[in-house]
Amino acid sequence: MFPILEAKWLAPKVRWITVAAPRVATKHLPGHFVIVRVSEHGERIPLTIADSDSASGTITLVVQVLGATTQQLCALKEGQAILDVVGPLGKATEMKNFGHVVLVGGGVGTAVIHPQAKALKNCGNYVSAVIGGRSQSYVILESELRSICDAVYPCTDDGSYGYHGFVTGKLGELIADQQQPVHAVITAGPVPMMRAIANLTREHHLHTIASLNPIMVDGTGMCGGCRVTIAGQTQFACVDGPEFDAHQVDFTELADRLSAYRPQEQLSWQQLQNLNHECRLNQLK
């Protein structure tokens, strides 16, 4: 069991969970993820390690409620525990002095770029972060990133805060800025966003890394369920990635494979809502 030391809402349906996992915390590098199982009959799901502290032996997860498993996980409170946490998995982000790196995070993707920002800063980079959300309340980790990065640009789809428009729009502006030329881009977020970023930076021949999020089971290269196509070659995202050269990724295929279990996911979700409903009825009695 992995006890939860802190749990709070960062944005609607986005939860910050700090959990004791000393073995993982010691070995964590930016880019790593864990696989988590919430309950005895639960699914194994991958989550990026958003932060870690080896001294206190904790790691932080930033989780968005999407379906049954993330809902169960986000219902856990301080003092409760996660059944299984295994990691750190995946390859760590390539760390070097690129010059000016722009990190682009969409939604919970911002949690992926958070540890990268710290490490890239330590390598001597000039680090900008472009972080997007639907509206102001969906922009997460802004103050954390401000304390690390040289510049942070929040963007909202509805213009309620920061830059009005998609993260690609802001990134386009940064690329165009001759004062502070961009040397590399790292992005994490929804597939359509990463695809749009890749298309944009391809035109400018900008080195771009995307953090992919296919469906996983074991996370150790044993099942092949997480396979993605990179430059026409099959790769297992859990061990060969999850970060790849964004210009080589087949995003259409990735998006398509993510939909493989949609009917079952809806069934699970429905079952959980019924269950929660019953529990609440029982409480009323």
Binding site: K27, V86, L89, D218, G221, M222, V239, E253, A260
Partner: protein, 466 residues
Amino acid sequence: MKPAERMKILRQHMPEQDAEQRSHNFEEVNYGLAGTAASMEAQRCLRCKQAKCIEGCPVGVDIPGFVEALAEDDLKKAADILLDANVLPAVTGRVCPQETQCEVQCIRGGKSEPLAIGYLERFVADWARENYQQKFTPPPPSGKRIAVVGAGPAGLTCAGELAKRGHAVTIYEALHRPGGVLLYGIPEFRLPKAIVDQEVNNLRKMGVQIICNVVIGATYTISDLLTAEGFQAVFIANGAGLPVFQGIPGEQLKGVYSANEYLTRVNLMGAFRFPDCDTPVIKSTQVAVVGGGNVAMDSVRTARRLGADPATLIYRRSRQEMPARVEEVKHAEEEGIVLELLCNPIEILGTTDGWVRGVRCQRMALGEPDASGRRRPEPIPGSEFEIPCQVFIEAIGTRANPLLTQSTPELNLNKWGNIVIDENNMTSMPGVFAGGDIVRGAATVILAMGDGKNSALSIHQFLSNK
């Protein structure tokens, strides 16, 4: 009883669940021999002085010894003899390929049928599981600590043998439950998971510590284990769990699985109980599986139980060359599995929205023998045809998973990525031993157990000399 009388007794049959009924459930196929049948079968053994059968068993079970005790109705003694050599008899009695191991060596095999060693082993082991706890007096602690990587049959056996010698053993397992392929690969209807759990618990009672959710190569390296974690020796038994894909067009379609993924979802994650278990698996009316070994057989029979009709097995050679256990092939056919022999998939066909709709195959003919001694299958020109299916499973083999070895460059590997060991099962790193599938490539449960046992002896020796 005189040998001549023994010779007259016919081999007992294994009672099994009705084929039609079992093709719709996950309950065990074989029921096990009844007591009278087991005694009768035990009488068939000739108690040979130079028992050839023992040579066929990688862990050297004293077969005439335990069978004689069984014939004399001394089940306790039979269990003690069996457990002395084999820590997982309820498992091996069910899954050993006896026809190529112990039974093929049985002297009775020539004239009639060999002794049903597997059935008897299972009988004694099942009796012991329910009625008998072998006495275990912990030996004085040696003060030595050993780490075992992987809780499959090799790791579990090695841990048990080391514990018997007073060593403190910690097993690190990557998944959330111990058992290895016994748990995530071999299905419930062949090997109930309760049996694996019970065997694992017996080890815990012997003082073996099992820590799940630790990936060696990621959470700790082998060097961490030998330095910071303070172990004096390590046994690597992480199996050969890297799925091989055929590399044919269409493998990214939704509905294409490796056997590892399909079986893991169903067995380890309980997808056959979905939505009571949260992990889903795609169910479809037509499923095709490519391969001819136990893994392919388990996949296709699993698909059948999830409702596939037809569930088709595609294999590029003929039935004789199939590496699967004879019993599995027989059971599969009884359950209505369609066998497409001398047939090879060349392309997976998809719908416009990315789902599998079928597989294009080629008929094959057998040519000259290849390196493996089996006749090489060659395509027949112009023989292409389609098999409709919505789920396609590839069960053509597994290789060594590089996750651990990549993080440990000190380990010598062969060209397939398997760890190279010396005659004492030691790797190129002093104090680090290895066995099971990571050394042999995909093999069998009992060979992995044999390696675990031999390695334990070598480790004991190594530590005593230190």
